[in-house]
């Protein structure tokens, strides 16, 4: 398996909220990277996890499957997933696969963080 061409940096945005900045190519190969980022973002108090897709360059159906498994894991910890920074193309893919019904999509980081406090 080739090394995943992706980086995921975690930013803590206050009590219970974390943002994961995703840059590169989302395929099933990057699942270990995403799960490491998820663990770094989950400190036991995190209830709102925001995925920033502004740096997303490529995604295949393996990447969507990986997001479903992340969703299962987050739900198990009673965490909510949100996303922002999706281009029209990737937003359509979220809608086509109906992933948008479980991962709330926002237009900006500000609105995603506002969603966390509601």
């Amino acid at each position: 398996m080739s090394a995943p061409a992706i980086t995921m940096d975690v930013r803590r945005m206050g009590d219970g909220v974390a943002v994961v900045d995703i840059k590169g190519e989302v395929t099933a190969a990057c699942e270990p990277v995403l799960m490491s980022a998820y663990e770094a973002a989950s400190d036991g108090r995190t209830s709102w996890l925001v995925l920033n897709f502004a740096g997303l360059e490529y995604m295949n159906s393996g990447g969507i499957g990986m997001l479903v498994t992340l969703l299962v894991r987050a739900n198990r910890q009673r965490q909510q997933l949100a996303a922002y920074g999706l281009s029209d193309h990737y937003r359509e893919i979220f809608e086509l696969t109906r992933l948008d019904e479980a991962i709330t999509i926002y237009d900006s980081e500000e609105s995603a963080l506002n969603g966390a406090v509601k």
């Binding site: 990986m66 498994t69 809608e95």
Partner: protein
Amino acid sequence: MTETAGPDQVRSAEQIGLSAREAAAAPPPHVGPDAAQAAGPRDATSWAKKVDRLEVDARQGVRGTNVAGRRLTGPVQGFGKMWQKSYRMKAGPGIAPEQAIATWKEHFPEFWPKGNRFAGALTGINPGDVALLDLAMGGGVKLSTGVFVLYADHESFTLMTPQGHMFAGWITFSAEREGDETVVQALVLMRANDPLYEVGMTFGGHRKEDKFWTATLTALGERLGIQNPTVEAKSTCVDTKRQWRHANNVWHNSMIRSVLQTVTFQRNKQAA
């Protein structure tokens, strides 16, 4: 076959991901964000365009019911426990992954077990295509449903199910190079669509599905010229929780509807 279950069964990309081929696939060459933006996303032609409800044309050899007007359903919309199932077959060193996938796409319906019908588009398997299915359920009953081609490239393709199908989810068919040989696989990520299907899957449905895909891969292997093709099946319960909020999916249950359609057809035939 190995089977594991439990809430801690979220596993690695290879075990959980839809497509190990996609996991291994080197995406198209990196061209930099500016150039990429100008040219559009590199995966743009591989994904189907967004659809709200499925539209279908009549196809020969299948009943073609329970598909038109239906929405697509992924694992998020399903009812039952979430399963990841993989069916893997070694194809040897002489077959390139692209060759295996091209053969699979071109002859997809021919590899299905006897009694089951897959009526796809005449042009093969392309993103956005809808295929109509008649599945043998025993006792002379055919379950009429369909699938949607969600994603397709030269190394893999993914089918997604509509409302009423036995399961909500997707299946990715892929091939990848592992060491010096090619491995072909089907990967399913699914939940039973409603409580009735969940009962059915528990009492024989999973076993039947395992047989189905094992037979399909074996037929593909024979077509590819593999001697004594062997399929390794593995099931993992990714989420043991059932999504009771989706119990009313049963309204669309294609099995019930197919039985009613068969009875109505027979009565009309007798009356005529």
